[in-house]
């Protein structure tokens, strides 16, 4: 069965879209359960699995790839508009 999103590391708080996911669509998670896309998520881009508060660490590959520059909700598109470079990753 084809997955809609890929979670690379179990510690990650973002997943990667396998296809373009339109806002409002519910996608099944490989770990069970589901998530509703809060915005359009282009293929290859990140979607938040959980809420990440402003200043919180965005985790992919089990590592910090930046910090949230705004409150991010589950299902939100996560990219340069709401991630800032981490000074001390």
């Amino acid at each position: 069965m084809e997955q809609d999103v890929i979670i690379i590391n179990e510690a990650d708080n973002v997943a990667v879209a396998r296809r373009d996911i339109p806002a409002g669509e519910e996608v099944a998670l490989p770990t069970g359960g589901s998530l509703t896309a809060a915005a359009d998520i282009p293929r290859g881009h990140k979607v938040a699995l959980v809420a990440i508060a402003d200043g919180g660490r965005v985790i992919k590959y089990g590592e910090c790839i930046g910090v949230a520059g705004a409150d991010i909700g589950p299902g939100d598109w996560v990219h340069t508009h709401n991630i800032e470079a981490a000074d001390k990753p």
Binding site: Q3, K60, Y61
Partner: protein
């Protein structure tokens, strides 16, 4: 990981192929090397654009790279064709190669009396080397004999998500079985120094990791100036990469999660088993030479946009990060990582790639080999020629 059958070499290494190569020691000898290769079916010409007009660090890099190619266990025997007046003398390279115990012959075009006589002389030598090499038979070898090169090129937003973690899974298995994996392209590690330092086997290795990545960052800024920030390029941003850390993490995912045992210079042969980092450029054809010269018998090369290149003496397994690419360039791609991971765990998909690796080690031709993707050899240089 099971044992495999490979060609035993006098220095104790084991080859996945049994090539006889004709190496011009300077670009001026490419024509004669080509004439020999056209006359003698089965020999592999190693064309390159160097061997003279360089000094200092570049001479050291080029000598080590060419000597390393000759020492690669996939090479059974070698004929070196020199011109005569070049800096990179055939006899110096031959001495180094002979130290490994392989059959190595060399001569110079000026001494042989010009191109035609040289080609004739070379063809006779090449035939005799082929005959010698054909007597070599595969024997049982252990995964400890394996060096696997890790490479990506023409990456896309899924490279770091599908293909690279899949390669990382198999790379970790090679290391667990006592083998060696080599990750290069230090420019692609910028932003992940703290992570790779943490994975270093001891503080000395950690210091070398830091030093290598800082130097890569400095070089990138020296060469590209304000454009250096485009190491994360517009295409990366469009593809969903939000930071340099994210992009580089995707790249180093090819090396799995094993500890970093050693840091080596470009084209240097690793001393330790386990994961080794090699300093070197991200430019594909130059970094592949670094890996081949280090002695890898096979490379795994992931690509998202579709890069068809192979390497003259080293089989290159091409791993597509996405199904559309695999379908578009099926003649060039060995594995569809996106499909492989569908409904399969990383472990399951890793089983299939591990088996393919072993089959390639034992002689199965990769797509790049079948397509004759073995063009000119590119060598990393730090300065222009004079």
């Amino acid at each position: 990981m099971r044992s495999f059958k490979g060609y035993p070499r006098p220095d104790g290494k084991v080859g996945a192929r049994n090539h006889v190569v004709v190496l011009p020691t300077v670009s001026c000898a490419n024509g004669v090397a080509g004439a020999i290769a056209r006359q003698v079916e089965g020999v592999v010409p190693l064309y390159h654009g160097h061997g003279c007009g360089r000094g200092g660090r570049d001479l050291e890099l080029h000598f080590r790279a060419l000597a390393g190619l000759l020492a690669n266990p996939n090479v059974a025997a070698a004929l070196l064709v020199g011109l005569g007046c070049e800096v990179m003398k055939a006899r110096f390279l031959a001495d180094t190669a002979e130290a490994g115990g392989k059959p190595v012959e060399h001569f110079e075009i000026q001494e042989a009396g010009g191109s035609r006589r040289a080609a004739q002389k070379g063809a006779a030598i090449a035939r005799s080397l082929l005959e010698t090499a054909s007597a070599c038979e595969r024997v049982e070898a252990s995964p400890q004999d394996l060096l696997l090169g890790l490479k990506c090129g023409g990456s896309d937003s899924l490279s770091g998500v599908t293909a690279n973690p899949l390669v990382g899974e198999v790379a970790d298995r090679v290391v667990a079985a006592g083998g060696t994996t080599v990750l290069t392209e230090s420019t692609e590690m910028i932003g992940t120094s703290h992570i790779l330092e943490r994975r270093a086997s001891d503080p000395e290795v950690a210091a070398r990791v830091k030093e290598m990545i800082e130097a890569a960052d400095r070089r990138t800024h020296e060469i590209m100036g304000p454009m250096a920030s485009l190491v994360i390029a517009p295409g990366n941003l469009e593809g969903g990469m939000s930071s340099i850390q994210e992009k580089s993490l995707g790249c180093i995912a090819k090396a799995g999660t094993s500890p970093v045992m050693q840091v080596v210079d470009y084209a240097e042969t690793p001393a330790a088993g386990g994961l080794v980092l090699m300093d070197g450029p991200g430019y594909d054809t130059e970094s592949m030479t670094g890996l081949a010269a280090a002695g890898v018998q096979v490379m795994m090369f992931t690509t998202g946009r579709g890069n068809p290149i192979g390497y003259p003496v080293v089989p290159v397994i091409k791993i597509a990060s996405n199904t559309p690419l695999f379908r578009t360039m099926e003649d060039d791609m060995d594995v569809d990582a996106e499909a492989a991971l569908d409904g399969a765990s990383l472990t399951g998909a890793g089983d299939a790639l591990e088996e393919l690796l072993l089959r390639v080690l034992e002689g199965e031709q990769t797509k790049a080999e079948l397509n004759g993707q073995d063009g000119i050899i590119c060598l990393y240089s730090t300065h222009s020629s004079f």
